[in-house]
């Protein structure tokens, strides 16, 4: 690999833990990469002459006299147009049997965009899924995760969104991806004839878990290349960020750091923010949009991983099984797109914000009616109507298998209002009622 003749080779490891090795070495830079008995490692601590290296694949089988070669550089990636259509591992090495990529070498995990050089995101991404486009519209330059239980079809929904999003490049960062899911992505992109727009960095369940810590930086460095230099619209898919965070906690645990909530490192917020904040809209039109997956444990969003994620991302898309209609829906209560107000009613029809809010309010009334019903109380006529509305709304709007345009979503919602309610019950600005309520 990258060892060069003049590099000094160390062969005396003094300490070994499950994840780290310590040795005496000089002139070493912080964050520098090294090869330890052929495995990749990175400097995580320097004390005088003592250097501590984290070994991504673990230290199992490494002898104290193993060869250690410092590479004199942080993690890097070769960028160029040749990345398109290719699959790489966490170190940026091809895993698709293809040739090495030619290109310029850049350091990954580089600096942030100066906030004053950003542009406010303002371009709607249409996905056809009404639970997203109507209630939680996405915008280029946004960062948003799916919150979903492990048994929900989040990768399918994400792939659909990606293919419909009209991005110039789609960059897949797979962390702890099962081999089946890896092949699923490969096939679906291939079948859509989109493979030449896709770059993938994949750590599968067969790879050492700690290696996945490098995946987001790899994916986002490639994204920055296409978005900033090539001024392209780039969509980055990160799945599953919960497994990324788990890897963080493995490392901090092995390094004896004091854990905070849910055994996660105290720096979890900063660690995740550094990744998600790479989402950006540049003034020249290039953009990075991040769509991620955060799997939940039994729908618990108070766990440190989804909780910190929610504080960082610009909303979340909460997938839930609606047993009344037997479909997976985008839950209108827990889902949110914080950037929607930049586009709704501006790039979409004027009545969009009010219709969206009114429908969700009525859906909330239905939830109350349901509680009442479950507690054995009589339902009023209004309750009955909200329940009927909720069911239809769930089927025709919230279900993830919907694919219609926003105009149709709004018309459908007006129809549902009209079929179930009186004008005053809907509480929408008079001018819109006058215009869209069919006489």
């Amino acid at each position: 690999m990258e060892t060069q003749a003049f590099q000094k080779v160390y062969t005396k490891i003094t300490n070994l833990t499950k994840a780290t090795i310590t040795l005496k070495a000089t002139d070493i830079g912080y964050d520098e990469m090294a090869l330890v008995a052929g495995r990749m490692g990175q400097v995580v601590k320097i004390m005088g002459e003592e250097v501590v290296l984290q070994i991504f694949a673990g230290t199992e089988g490494i002898p104290t006299n193993a060869e250690v070669v410092f590479l004199g550089r942080p993690p890097q990636l070769k960028v160029g147009d040749q990345l398109a259509g290719r699959f790489f591992n966490a170190f940026g090495e091809p895993i698709d049997g293809g040739p090495e990529v030619d290109g310029r070498v850049i350091d990954t995990g580089g600096p942030s965009v100066n906030p004053v050089r950003r542009k406010q995101p303002s371009q709607l991404i249409a996905t056809g899924i009404a639970g997203i486009d109507l209630n939680n519209s996405l915008v280029t330059g946004q960062k948003i995760p799916f919150f979903a239980d492990p048994d929900q079809p989040y990768n399918q929904v994400m792939a659909n969104v990606a293919l419909r999003a009209e991005a110039d490049k789609i960059i897949l960062g797979g962390m702890g991806l099962s081999n089946d899911d890896y092949l699923y992505f490969k096939n679906i992109f291939d079948n859509a004839g989109a493979l030449d727009r896709i770059v993938s960095f994949v750590n599968t369940t067969d790879d050492p878990p700690v290696e996945r810590l490098l995946i987001p930086d790899m994916a986002l460095s490639a994204a920055e290349y296409f978005a900033e230099e090539k001024q392209q619209k780039v969509l980055v898919l990160l799945t599953d960020m919960t497994l990324f965070a788990d890897a963080l906690s493995i490392v901090s645990n092995r390094m004896d750091q004091i854990p905070s909530k849910d055994s996660m490192p105290g720096s979890l917020y900063s660690d995740l923010a550094r990744i998600y904040e790479k989402a950006v809209q540049f003034p020249h039109g290039g953009s990075i949009t991040i769509i991620a997956v955060t799997t939940l444990n039994g729908g618990d969003i108070t766990h440190a991983i989804p909780d910190n994620t929610g504080y960082i991302t610009e909303g979340q898309l909460f997938l839930r099984m609606d047993s009344d209609v037997g479909k997976v829906i985008v839950d209108p209560f827990r889902s949110l797109s914080r950037l929607k107000q930049l586009v709704i009613g501006k790039q979409t029809r004027e009545d969009h914000p009010q219709v969206m809010n009114a429908a969700i309010r009525l859906y909330a009334d239905a939830a109350n009616a349901k509680t009442k019903q479950d507690n054995g109380f009589d339902l009023t006529d209004y309750d009955e109507r909200t329940l009927k509305f909720a069911k239809e709304y769930s089927e025709q709007i919230l279900a993830v298998d919907i694919n219609i345009d926003t105009e149709k979503m709004l018309d459908t919602t007006w129809d549902l209002f009209q079929q179930n309610f009186e004008r005053e019950e809907v509480v929408v600005r008079q001018e819109f009622v006058d215009k869209y309520w069919k006489q």
Binding site: D27, Y311, R361
Partner: protein, 588 residues
């Protein structure tokens, strides 16, 4: 901290942004140093000293840094530069002017001047030769975006001085000498429009700090009407993610009646800062007609910027606030989110292997937060004028649980509590401030009560209390209805519930994205509250509980249309007339 020769040292250890430096001379706690990394100098702050080993937190990434690198100690603490030209600037947490940096990406070690040294300011003297002055005394003023920016005797000056000369009115740069003062030993000191101040030290250049007594109008009904904050008051907004902390702070910073607004974006999203500098140059300050950006300064340490500078960012913001307060101005200071600052403290405390307190936060978290909030306040200056800093911070409780250390510590420090409620946010009842759990301690201050009585109306406080009672009774009625069922309670319970729904929909809820509803001046708040309370006093006749809900929904719909209409416009009046018609159908 005057030293004859500079202390230097060499890097001896590196753990992320904690660096251990071996020194050869005296060093002070919190002193600033520069690590002489070959590509660029890295700024750092001393946080612990153990013999020859000095622990510094680096305000930058330490990638590539090597043991043995030279370190220069500066002999001063972390300071900000104070002078005209701070308004409308976008600074990072260390007061570097972000607009002056080259390139799309932030470069490490890129430190830029916070002031414009070329611009000429229109100086008008205030002091004259022979005047006795002390730190903070006004020497003259220059107009800065329509605000009188007073040039003061530097805050660092101790004791009193004699003014020897003051330059006459004219055009000067910030570095021109504008006055000469003589100290007690007869030494002349030249003064320019610029001074420096260490951010972690409170500016005390004022005569006294009374309890706040004046209402600070924010334009947010549920705050001003139910739980008002005062000029110089403190408040905090805790809430789970997505419940509206940032939208609320932005709304306050747009419409509050302040002279100066300082926004510290502390460890939150960069796009939220972009929103401010995209929108504020377009929006008008309803009071002055100038653009909002002209009265605003942004301190941005977004979540992807160096963690160590996060702590600095809130102190930088507070110090800029104190500077403008000393000019006799009304400053509104916002920090979003103070939890990120606490987390930055936690990361460093863990790296230092200090004994952790609850949830691994440092033991002295409460003390740190309390002394920070204590820097806000209303003050009388030495010249009899007054100024204020009103501080509102957001708190992001882990898991939305208000029993966590940052929320609990802040509760001890802030006088107003605006708790955002998840279920209100879920049902889009924005702003999601819980009307029953939230409080303003200022309503218990007799001087505030007097102020409200004099400036709003004789019975204002009674009306506010009545509103709170109706909300509480409405909640109780709803609980009963949920337990006993719609038919299981007297009709009156439904009326009670709907009276509280009426208050909720018309007074509490406010659409921050609606041109008109976003800002509700006090006069309009008073009018609407009286109108709504008037309705709750009316006696209507209902046959069934469905009559009650049907009727109130129509009333609410009508009043919402009023909220969306231009104040006292034709439409406004029409909706009011129609409302009367609705009443007639049910009035006894």
């Amino acid at each position: 901290m005057e030293r004859k020769s500079k202390t230097t040292g060499v890097v001896a250890g590196i753990i992320a942004n904690l660096v251990i430096v071996e020194v050869d001379g005296p060093v002070a706690q919190n002193e600033i140093c520069f690590i002489q990394h070959p590509e660029n100098k890295l700024m750092a702050e001393v946080i612990k000293i153990l013999g020859k080993n000095v622990y510094v937190q680096v305000f930058e990434s330490t990638r590539g840094l090597k043991v043995g690198t030279k370190v220069d100690f500066e002999g001063h603490l972390l300071e900000v530069t104070l002078g005209p030209g701070i308004l409308s600037r976008n600074y990072d947490g260390l007061q570097n002017d972000l607009d002056k940096m080259d390139g799309v990406f932030l470069k490490r070690g890129d430190y830029t001047d916070p002031l414009n040294r070329e611009k000429k300011w229109d100086w008008r003297p205030i002091a004259k030769a022979g005047d006795q002055v002390v730190a903070g005394s006004w020497l003259g003023e220059v107009p800065e975006n329509g605000m009188p920016h007073r040039i003061m005797v530097p805050f660092k000056f101790k004791g009193s001085y004699n003014v020897k000369s003051v330059v006459e009115a004219g055009q000067y740069t910030v570095d021109n000498i504008i006055a000469v003062v003589t100290d007690s030993e007869g030494n002349d000191i030249d003064l320019t429009m610029v001074q420096k101040w260490p951010v972690k030290v409170a500016v005390k250049a004022y005569k006294e700090k009374p309890r706040p007594f004046k209402l600070l109008e924010t334009g947010i009904r549920t705050m001003d009407t139910l739980n008002p904050i005062t000029e110089g008051g403190t408040g905090f907004i805790p809430g789970p993610f997505g419940t509206g902390k940032t939208v609320l702070q932005h709304a306050i910073s747009k419409y509050a009646e302040a002279d100066i607004v300082i926004i510290a974006a502390c460890g939150e999203r960069a796009n939220e800062v972009v929103e401010i500098f995209t929108e504020f140059p377009e929006l008008e300050d309803p009071r002055t007609g100038r653009k909002l950006i002209e009265r605003t300064t942004i301190i941005a340490n977004t979540s992807n910027m160096p963690v160590a500078a996060r702590e600095a960012s809130v102190y930088t913001a507070m110090t800029l606030g104190e500077y403008y307060r000393s000019m006799g101005l009304k400053v509104l200071l916002m920090a979003d989110s103070t939890s990120r600052w606490a987390q930055a403290l936690r990361e460093m405390s863990n790296r230092l292997e200090e004994l952790p307190g609850p949830d691994a936060f440092p033991m002295d978290l409460t003390a740190i937060i309390t002394s920070f909030y204590a820097r806000a306040g209303f003050v009388y200056l030495n010249n009899g004028e007054s100024g204020s800093i009103t501080f509102i911070g957001t708190v992001s409780p882990a898991g939305g649980n208000l029993k966590e250390p940052v929320t609990e510590s802040t509760r001890k420090a802030a006088r107003c509590f605006y708790g955002l409620n998840q279920s209100r946010a879920d049902s889009k009842r924005y702003p999601a401030i819980d009307p029953i759990d939230s409080y303003s301690k200022y309503l218990e201050y007799p001087e505030v009560v007097d102020y409200l009585t004099e400036n709003i109306s004789e019975d204002w406080l009674d009306q506010v209390m009545k509103t709170k009672t109706l909300l509480l009774r409405g909640r109780e009625a709803m609980e009963q209805i949920n337990i006993l069922g719609d038919d299981g309670v007297p009709l009156e319970f439904h009326e009670r519930f709907w009276n509280s729904e009426l208050i909720d929909a018309v007074i509490l809820q406010q659409d921050s994205f609606d041109k008109i509803d976003a800002n509700c001046p006090l006069e309009r708040q008073k009018y609407m509250l009286e109108k709504v309370l008037g309705i709750t006093d009316m006696r209507f006749s209902f046959e069934t509980f469905e009559d009650v809900s049907g009727f109130f929904k129509r009333v609410i719909n009508q009043l919402k249309q009023i909220n969306y209409s231009e104040w006292k416009s034709e439409k406004f009046a029409t909706y009011e007339t129609e409302l009367e018609e609705i009443f007639k159908e049910r009035l006894n």
